[in-house]
Symmetry: C2
């Protein structure tokens, strides 16, 4: 079944095959990808579409001497299979042994670690620039999907690359689909080019000054090889526009929920065996925090749409992972805007909506919000735009290195003018969202609760199904569920009322030690307190104070000052990087006083797929380590 593939340990082995054998090899790779993704999970659709494209690149070019740069690198599995890493996809015991993205530590064929969209053109241009300055000679190819072209950084790269005076190949892998549906005028032009076999006079690439080539049969490896041979030695930048079919070979019914072609379910395939869910970014683990709280937040807005015309949710792609589900999207109608992969635009668009009196909510993960840093600082914070940012996937996790949330507080918590909230339950999240989209009329960031909060809510028996949780919450707010806030705001002519979460919440008043657990770290603070109260190995048990700060944009000096008598030690807990984080502010507040402060949080470091428990131990963020340090500082 993998007779040809079994002999491929490097691109040299690929080149040893005759062209006529390549379709069979493509078929073997395709079967391997389906087997791997359905068992392990992975970006199945994009990889299935790019099998022949990747084979042709490796057949024609001499990697790694010739550089191939995979934009965002969702689509690099075939590349990995062909460059000595096939066992990671063929051998179930080695599934997970390679990254889902290109990784320079894995192979000299991977030039960068990439997981964010749109930079491949600039990176390739940089390599080509250095090559020519040094008088060297090799080919440089950027492979970028159509979905990535909507990001501003890709445009900056295109705009600058077209005038380059040297060899540079940019392959646009056009499978008619980004992670979700493509959004924007660019895609009308790509469609016109596809429909005209690349011959339309309306051609954005030519307008930008490129030599443009088109390949209609983007899953025909011989056509592709011919094209790449023909552009290999061209002494100026060339765009090769390749029409491929996303998820080709998946057929129907082989993977539940996935179909050939452009379908939003084709981005990610969850393991079929374990979850029975099959393909689809739309159907992530319904039990995870990101999905649970995201769908709860969305569901809480639905009843308000009828009365609040410009209450709008904006998502720059990857909506499904954040619990923004097809049923919500349908009910929201024009209250939901997917802008495609364009985070900068998403934030500035929201600021425009806010300026015109609307209540926009922008939802994405912290790692993608960093793509809009300038717009968050200027158009949002500096302009005091009444926008709510729902920040998903914050804090340390076992994620790959390019999608870590460990930096979120340092990223967004140090901007003036943004009220940063950290709810510690679903109900509190809904209260905060109702306020931020209602009477607040200011920039508000809500750090979406993570797995720790979800686990603690489960343990307490809270209702966590989105519909039911929202129903109960609306009952508890007098059936209004935030609509009162909207009308209240209108009555008061848009004036801002106070922030109800400005003061830290003292959950338990004790003595000696005060534990401040921010957001996701609050359950840990509770556990530490419990352990200190019932520590049988110590002669005197303690009664620590426990505090839920609920926000991290200001230091609540009143509450902190009140701890000075009666406490010797303050312990701050956050699940994010300490440097630039929240605990350091608390330490600084007490630095002129006799109060000792222990700041618990993550190191300033990149980590790649390290299990969360290992990371917690490494950073001393686990209960035993923290208890040990508390006793040490107190001299016990």
């Amino acid at each position: 079944m993998t007779a040809l593939l079994d002999g491929i340990d490097s691109p040299e082995d690929l080149k040893a095959l005759g062209i006529s054998q390549l379709p069979d090899l493509a078929q073997e790779i395709r079967e391997t990808l389906i087997g791997f993704c359905t068992a392990h999970g992975g970006h199945l659709g994009s990889n299935l579409g790019a099998v022949e494209l990747t084979m042709a690149l490796h057949y024609v070019f001499e990697s790694p001497q010739d550089r191939i740069i995979f934009d965002v690198s969702h689509q690099s599995y075939t590349h990995k299979i062909l460059t000595g890493r096939r066992q990671a996809f063929c051998d179930p015991e080695r599934f997970g042994s390679v990254s889902g993205f290109t990784n320079s530590a894995e192979s000299p064929h991977d030039h960068f670690d990439l997981g964010h969209t749109g930079t491949s053109i600039s990176l390739a241009l940089g390599i080509a620039t250095a090559r020519d300055l040094a008088g060297e000679d090799y080919a440089v190819t950027a492979l970028i999907g159509d979905g990535s072209l909507s990001s501003g950084t890709a445009f900056e790269g295109l705009n600058n690359a077209s005038g380059f005076q040297g060899k540079l190949i940019i392959v646009c892998n056009d499978n008619e689909m980004a992670i979700d549906e493509n959004v924007g005028g660019l895609y009308g032009n790509l469609a016109e080019l596809r429909n005209s076999g690349g011959r339309s006079a309306h051609n954005i690439f030519k307008d930008l000054g490129f030599d443009y080539r088109y390949v209609e049969e983007g899953n025909d490896v011989e056509s592709l090889i011919g094209m790449f041979e023909s552009v290999k030695e061209v002494e100026h930048p060339v765009i090769v526009h390749v029409h491929t079919r996303k998820a080709l070979g998946i057929g129907d019914h082989r993977v539940p929920g996935m179909h050939e072609g452009h379908d939003r379910n084709n981005h990610w395939c969850a393991p079929v065996a374990t979850g029975g869910k099959g393909g689809g970014d739309r159907k992530p683990d319904a039990h995870n925090a990101r999905y649970t709280y995201g769908s709860m937040a969305m569901r809480s807005l639905v009843p308000r749409f009828a009365n609040e015309a410009s209450l709008v949710v904006i998502s720059p792609a990857t909506a499904g992972s954040n619990g923004i589900l097809p049923d919500f999207i349908e009910e929201a109608g024009n209250h939901y805007i997917d802008v495609g992969i364009a985070e900068e635009h998403a934030v500035a668009l929201a600021c425009g909506i806010a300026k015109a009196g609307g209540a926009p909510v922008v939802a994405t993960s912290s790692t993608f919000f960093q793509r809009a840093y300038d717009q968050i600082q200027q158009e949002l914070a500096l302009n005091a735009s009444a926008v709510t940012l729902l920040v998903f996937a914050t804090g340390i996790s076992g994620s790959d290195v390019t999608h870590s949330g460990a930096f979120d507080i340092a990223l967004l918590g140090n901007l003036p003018g943004i009220t940063c909230l950290a709810p510690t339950s679903g109900q509190e999240l809904l209260d905060m969202l109702a306020w931020s989209t209602g009477e607040a009329r200011r920039p508000v960031l809500i750090r979406m609760p993570g797995e720790e909060v979800l686990a603690s809510e489960r343990a307490e028996g809270h209702e966590l199904s989105a519909r039911e949780a929202v129903r109960r919450w609306r009952e508890s707010t007098g059936g209004t569920g935030g609509q009162c806030h909207g009308s209240h705001r209108r009555q008061h002519g848009g004036e801002s009322l106070g922030n109800p979460w400005e003061r830290y919440a003292v959950s338990h008043q004790g003595s000696e030690v005060a534990l401040l657990g921010l957001g996701n770290a609050y359950p840990l603070a509770m556990r530490i307190a419990q352990a200190l109260r019932h520590d049988g190995t110590r002669p005197n048990s303690m009664d620590p104070t426990v505090i839920d700060p609920r926000q991290y944009s200001t230091v609540d000096a009143t509450t902190l000052h009140a701890l000075l008598p009666g406490h010797d030690l303050v312990v701050t807990l956050e699940d994010s990087q300490l440097n630039g984080g929240w605990g350091h502010r608390i330490a600084s507040y007490y630095a002129e006083t006799p109060m000792r402060v222990l700041t618990i949080g993550a190191d300033m470091a990149f980590t790649d797929r390290i299990p969360l428990s290992d990371l917690s131990s490494r950073y001393g963020m686990d209960a035993p380590s923290i208890l040990g340090r508390i006793h040490q500082v107190l001299g016990h």
Copy 2:
């Protein structure tokens, strides 16, 4: 001379004029702009080109009900003159009473405070979206210059705006020039459109799906009025491409160094009376720190270009302000790359060059580096790309709110993997730059010295002319000036050697109080030490320890630990925001010990054109405040 203008206190007054009177009014406004800019300084060229455009917009539309959004708002002077603020441009006693950018606190006609490029389209689309959701009816116009279109965020806005189902006007003010020369393939298409009177079949705007209109006579107010009348009620997005002439009316010789048309000297006009310099971003105050140290840094690289093929300086526009001068650019040849206003591309391009073995330097101000946050975090830091970032204009200053450097350490100092250096002299800057572009082979950020450092060097009689300073520095390094580093690196196969600035420098070992002054704050630390030594009002003078940390990416625990015996108080001084800054890390380091720490730095706040001395007092960053706090903490 301003007979017509004297009667204009609002757009209503403008509309009361006959169209035939408007050219005369334009002439009066032009004279006013020249008078204002030559006396006060300002963005003269862009404003002169857009006089008629702005008049026509206000003649046709009903501002502020109809919204006009000025991209980056360099070109908003005529708008301000027409909306009740003409005295700020006519009356020398009121020069400086309004911001150089649109400012929502000044006027209801200014919808946003904008000073960064490229967001006007997204903001306008947001307003139009909210308008339609709320069932309201007014016109929304974004006015964006051709130079701004190279920024990725503008492309994201265009891509998303073209499919909007409602009224939206995007005016492209094409004066054939950005701040510097336009860079990129886009500008070839704009030229083709201009040359064809807007009729070329190659039209990037049409390819993106826009209804496109062209005005060749962009300084003819009647043509413009006709065009805006014709598109005012169009129920879908329209691009109006207007060909204007930058600096029109300046003639020759009226303002030294400035000429009509597309010339890089037309961006900024410095006050002629005070400096005798006239126009030109190329010739900023040769006595300021940004210019002095920037030109010194550039000059130090020149002798290396002959032997180091891929030592490259990259500037995303505004080169002149950073001391990147025409003579350097000429000598650098292909070692200098201006990418236009495209910071994201600039950083990713540099990472590509570094990956191919080159030594790229990216130079811009801290406020513009934030536009490339994602690329700095992912492509640069995470990929350990051997790129040097020269960060200009850091720390608090009297700048306008959109260009503040007060946030630079929080912005870039909390990213893993970047070595952040803060030189306290020109010679140290050159040492650091030679290392970062030589043997370091890692991401290095150099925080360019500011006015405080420059003043202290002057006081010590240091040589500060770029050529002479570099000559002396090269002599002191054995005539190599960093070239040895390059060859050293090659001999060692690219391995990274240690960071010579990892340890803090103890300038003076004293006792009781240790003063740590980072970068620009080091001269202040020296002054505080001096004052403590010679405080005649106190019975016992002190002998404080003084430390120059030189870097802020790691905490030098060895040096800090050594302060524990013999010191009661550590004072950290930085000229940037405390939250997310450097001093908080030091406070956190000592938080478990009896050491008291005073962290001196800026509040987390936006400030707009507040004189530096006022800001220093406000934040307690002046010597008397700091001395007072030291005595207070020590119980004196």
